[in-house]
Symmetry: none
Subunit: 225 residues, 4 copies
């Protein structure tokens, strides 16, 4: 259990604990991560840590829920924008990459959920979490159909699935070695810094082929905007 004591902590301290735990779990993975090390790095005692959390698992849960917040914020921000669907999708990529730059550990935490040996967590969190994500994609794409930006015969779920997996891999490529190599090799990128300009470039590259397949035919624009 995550105890109320944790929520009653002064926000700064609570955030420091979350960030520290996220960083260490992100680096080592849940099972390798060391509780005593987390406490020490967060500048508190193990005892204190265990007044906040009943078990190591609960530390992960708290960190994961923070990761969910961090991700959800990106979605909320983009959904709230009054732009074309295409730009919103691009922004989902770009803002996600920016978020990954700011909070790389939390992206790794997210990735940790899909690791073998994390079934319990996946069972506990994924169903409602993914459902929430699905709803957002659905709303977004339906809107695109209504506004005439998208083809009317789309399999919305399939599109959402492809989009989401691409984002997962792209966000993950910021903090995670595997996804990072995967991306730079497959996209044959020349090494460069993680700037917004770069993010916009990648987003366009990656979205374009799919976009061509889902946009409404009359919407034909020059391929490279």
């Amino acid at each position: 259990m995550i105890n109320s004591a944790f929520y009653n902590l002064e926000p700064k301290k609570r955030q420091r604990i979350l960030d520290t735990a996220a960083k260490i779990i992100a680096k080592q993975g849940f099972h390798k991560a060391n509780v005593n090390e987390i406490a020490a790095a967060a500048g508190i005692s193990v005892g204190a840590l265990y007044t906040y959390f009943d078990a190591k698992e609960d530390i992960f849960e708290a960190v994961f829920m923070e990761a969910v917040q961090v991700t959800a914020e990106v979605q909320r921000k983009v959904v709230a924008q009054n732009e074309s669907l295409r730009d919103q999708l691009l922004n989902l990529f770009v803002e996600g990459l920016m978020m990954a730059r700011r909070r790389p550990s939390y992206v790794e935490i997210y990735l940790n959920m899909m690791a073998p040996g994390m079934e319990t967590f996946a069972d506990k969190f994924s169903p409602e979490l993914e459902t929430a994500g699905a709803i957002i994609y659905e709303a977004l794409l339906k809107k695109g159909i209504h506004t005439g930006e998208l083809r009317t015969d789309l399999d919305i779920r399939a599109v959402a699935y492809v989009l989401d997996n691409t984002m997962l891999a792209l966000y993950g490529s910021i903090p995670n070695r595997f996804f990072s190599i995967h991306r730079s090799v497959l996209l044959q990128e020349s090494p460069g810094r993680l700037t917004r300009v770069w993010a916009e470039g990648v987003a366009r590259r990656v979205l374009l082929p799919l976009w061509e397949g889902i946009r409404a035919p009359e919407n034909k624009l020059p391929n490279n905007t």
Copy 2:
């Protein structure tokens, strides 16, 4: 190090060791997996295991290399087929799913590489592995352009990236809880058995939107073949 003793083992025994290790690491993840348990389950002594492998890490490496073989076989098989690119891509999905059904543990091993705390392995294996994958995609897609199936203005790498991530998630959804929930929620699937027919259906759903974006314009066919 993976010692020569391991390669000199009778193939059946070697395979049993790999499969057992794969199964256990797949279930628990590398860091949680227990070497003694692997030895016991494989019907050999820990001592023997340690004459084959210098360290736990090396067991993972051997298992991972087997996972690479398993995956590569799917690609080789599909690439060798003399079919249209579209069917080859569909087959990449379908055969991959079939492979995941046959060897679910090895798919999890693959997923284990992208878990936090596995950087060392990613550094060691990913670069050449991903390069090999990239080459296959490149060849496949270039061929598609030459045969006129694909648009000539494609960003091949980007298409490969999207395709590969989708496959990763789809294959992973067979053994892995997170990806399984992710898929069934996003694709809004009704529960069903993992049959070839089902796999073909999913493959079509998932490939279609992207295919529409990459196929050559004159190639216009009814959406559902």
Copy 3:
């Protein structure tokens, strides 16, 4: 040390603390018992508990002294009765059992003193405590000799020893699992509630053989009064 603050507490609160501590120590044993849990269950803060007691050991001592009071009260009550020695001995059993029913935890506390690892406490309390007990038995039995109820050639100490051990086991059988099983198996009792009638029956059964050995010969009565 048990601080004066504890004795200055309003009696109700003091009693509540003692009873709570007794209950928890009775259930878990001194070493397993948890100070924080005691404080919480008693409705006070650990801090407060530690202003009353300097250490966990002191909590036990306070509780033990209360247990002594509880036991002594039974003895005082029975000794004050103006009955035959035989009835007084029977009453010692019966009233002790009744006391054990009312305050089972305190009987366990008493038992806790004879557990391994409690030497320090035994050294501190047992000598004078047992001496006090011995005096009571001595007075009682001497009186029995004087009134002609008992044989004149008795080894009073030995009789007291046997009596006291039997009482210990009998009282202990109320709250304590071991002694409870021990009693019901050896006495081959059919399960039943702890009523005064039952207590009187057990008391008679258990006292009789010894009574036959210590009563004055001319006192011969039918076995079952």
Copy 4:
């Protein structure tokens, strides 16, 4: 669980582990006793200890079962003797005291079972153990009735109960502080060494009053044999 590895140990080593564990648990009590300390004192590693036993509880069980053996041996020995019942009862006391001198720790282990917080163990072992004890007493006393040594109207169970509790306290008085003080104060003993002669004296003192109450009337002998 007590693993087979433990039973396959060379007897000398196995005994050393049992004796060491018994000694430490006897001194500190189960809950205070330290597993690492036991391992160190036994000259083995914690790891080894945990290949023999799955948990600390199992160490206690093994030690307790040894304690049962030790006690049972005394009973078997005495029961096998072809003596009068009176001498057999005296020998039960004497041999028990001798056993307690030889293996004091195991007597404490036995006492540990009746400590608060040991319910689980009592539940697991006491029922059949006490039943076995009850059978022995029953056989012994029935034989005494048949041979005419004992009164025919005895409540055998009650006699057994009184006898057993007295023995418990007497055996316990060898290693245990509480029972030791209890005995020496109540019996008003002058300090002395634990010799067989002393044991015989105590046995006679303690048995006599009860014996007078249970022996057959025609059996009247001078009080102090």
